[in-house]
Symmetry: C2
Subunit: 437 residues, 2 copies
């Protein structure tokens, strides 16, 4: 190969980062690869806005097919996100023998095994380092760093927006809604923040990681997912008093046979490294059989960090192209055989400790009623604190930590409590992870 | 290739880990690679001790040449450490067209470019993930994860023994010597701990990382290196009162043209993630142009973590062998051209803040004499604390933090102070890093 030709679909934030890096690092990349990497075409519906990087007008097209069907193009970089038309574009590029670089976690979590199968059949590579945790080389670590090891679990802060909001709520004691507005004004949160704050983006990344770590297909509809929009400053403050931080975690522990996988706000001990991951930073804490605990930390999003991961993938595939090989590392660590689906442990069956916040009327006997219901459902109480602060509605918060209990039992207890007149609001529940390592 | 044959030289702790992992993960490795990885021969001077893993007696030899000259062996794993005979073994293996996996940081930092040159000339690969930070895939991250980026600096806790000693001194307030004895009894420190506690092992790893990050040869004799044996509980306690931890750091910041690289005990802010790396854990905090700050954390030593990194390297080279390629990623990120030597900034020219502890007689005018000397040497004082505690020798400790100052000026001031009768011991100096990120 005398050069590697790139077609880029999607000239948004990350696309702009990719173009900037390919331009400023042309020399370094050529030096490291031996041949030049040439950006040939950029497809985007908007071909007129200026993105702060100079691009020749004749490189731009509104028609993705001009990239997908161009026999000169070796690697197609898909950065439009979402399922369609991204999926059709990628499948057509694969059919045309092009290698793929994508940052599309929504697509990979939904249709990853279909895409990987098509790629393996055609003998092309798919690289997706940028799909999980932006600039942190986590995919590479799982695929190659731990290639001889067995991963038994991981815990990740994988969404920078949610982490920014929780960190700011912690620092400022402010409400979710106020901090969200602030995050939107700073560009850290989308106008529609649902994907980020309701845990869906984290779920996508968790699914990609489970696939990689265990070599199995994942039906993410089976994974319990809960966002951070119900967390209040009261919860954060009380957690802090007890030596915990609240983080939106992607949780996975298990084996190829079955995993306990979930996404939800979680109380984690202050002493744990993950509790120190603040602002928009991401981190993945991993447990493997031989290496033990490891952690990978960095920027999970943004023009340049994610752009850098995309260009590292372009360089990696280019190295294969220069050597004339493909599929050096199987797309899924267990080889390219048809994938079995991994069993997801139903959330009702998990055992965990719970943080509970009740909004109760301030009268005698309340605690006895609550603890009675918990006891009848086999949930034992670790500690209780009743704060003297009466809220507008005339109720007082009661905070409680339970011992380890079955989720099903807790849900039953909550249903029974919902019928109590002494409780003024739905009880707030946050799961606790004491034993991350 | 129908199988990959391995020859292992050095059946010590890490070698035993490698054998254990190759045995228990035979199926997984075969599944991930497509062909089996077969351990053919183990060379060690001791072929009789039992290591807790069953090995057929006829696989063992006391003669390394039985591996180096065996035409059946594809990959030679060198785990004896030190310069000779490791170097001769590796050079002979390369001459015989064998690929190399090594964990030998001493050898790589001393003779890396010579070995890489010979390997490139012969068309064989050299993998050395296990040489820096054991089970943490740092080498892979630098070589591949940041392949499109420019690294501008890194700060590493790269020696588990030294970190264990400093962490224990911090937790227990005990003396270096007592903790060292405890570490030796637990197997965390060698009978002769010099390499670990005097920073030499950290220097070796720093040199390997500088080579990789900047694509340059390193003359490590030019890198200032200081160990932790002079740190006292007093220093640790005072640092803690000021919001700092003391860590043995490998420090590097700069460009291909020149780096400020050093190894020494360092005061780092409590708020920094690196300050939370305790016990025998290692971590590398990295700064790069596009990705920004990242951190990699895990076990930097031990039978299974380091063994796992060695086996990941074996698998990586095996993937190349199966595909019939070599040198997919150049051994040094800037290609395989003859390496220029990187300039190391002389330590006398660095600018940094200093922690100083004086042992002074308890009489009026002492502070005036000390601050006079500092002032005349252009060192301005940030804060001073004199503790009332008189020691056995009738002196009291005075603690001082300076503003940023030139090292040369500090050394001049220290020389002048050495002549003061009011100072009873040599002044303790620890450099401060406030701006790691």
């Amino acid at each position: 190969m005398k050069k590697i030709s790139i077609g880029l679909i999607g000239f948004g934030t990350v696309g702009t980062g990719v173009v900037k890096i390919l331009k400023k690092n042309t020399g370094v990349l050529r030096h490291r690869l031996g041949v030049p990497i040439v950006l040939r075409t950029i497809a985007d519906l908007d071909i007129h806005s200026h993105r702060g990087v100079a691009v020749k007008q004749d490189m731009l097209t509104r028609t993705a097919a001009n990239i997908l069907d161009d026999p000169e193009i070796d690697i197609v970089v898909e950065l439009i996100g979402g399922i369609e038309p991204a999926k059709s574009f990628i499948m057509r590029a694969i059919a045309n023998n092009k290698h793929i670089v994508t940052a599309n976690k929504a697509l990979l979590s939904e249709c990853g095994s279909e895409i990987f199968k098509a790629a393996a059949a055609k003998g092309v590579d798919v690289a997706f380092e940028a799909s999980v945790a932006g600039g942190i080389p986590i995919i590479r670590a799982v695929q190659e760093g731990f290639s001889s090891d067995r991963i038994s679990g991981f815990f990740g802060i994988l969404n920078g927006t949610a982490n920014y909001i929780l960190s700011s709520m912690t620092d400022e004691g402010a409400d979710f809604k106020d901090i969200l507005k602030d995050a939107q004004s700073k560009g850290y949160a989308e106008a529609d923040p649902t994907l980020d704050v309701e845990g869906i983006d984290t779920l996508h990344k968790l699914s990609v990681l489970i696939s990689l770590a265990f070599g199995r297909k994942v039906d993410m509809r089976k994974i319990y997912t809960e966002g951070i929009s119900k967390i209040t400053p009261l919860d954060i403050e009380f957690a802090r008093e007890l030596g915990y931080k609240i983080k939106l975690l992607a949780i996975c522990r298990g084996t190829q046979k079955e995993v306990d996988a979930r996404v939800h706000p979680t109380l984690i001990p202050d002493s744990h490294l993950l509790s120190r991951v603040t602002e928009t930073f991401n981190a993945l804490f991993l447990q493997s059989e031989d290496v033990g605990p490891t952690m990978f930390y960095g920027k999970g999003a943004g023009m340049m960090p994610t752009g850098s991961a995309v260009v590292a993938d372009i360089l990696s595939l280019s190295r294969n192209l220069v050597k004339g090989i493909v599929n050096r590392v199987p797309l899924l660590t267990e080889g390219n055989k048809p994938l079995q689906e991994i069993k997801i442990k139903p959330v009702k069956d998990i055992l965990t400790r719970f943080y509970l916040r009740f909004s109760a009327v301030d009268e005698p006997g309340v605690l006895s009623k609550i603890s009675g219901i918990l006891g009848r459902n086999h949930i034992s109480i670790h500690s209780v604190v009743q704060k003297g602060r009466q809220t507008r509605r005339g109720s007082v918060p009661i905070f409680m930590l339970t011992h380890e209990a079955r989720e099903l039992n807790l849900q039953r207890a909550l249903k029974q409590m919902d019928r109590l007149a002494i409780l003024r609001q739905k009880t707030m529940v946050v799961r606790i992870e004491d034993s991350l390592m």
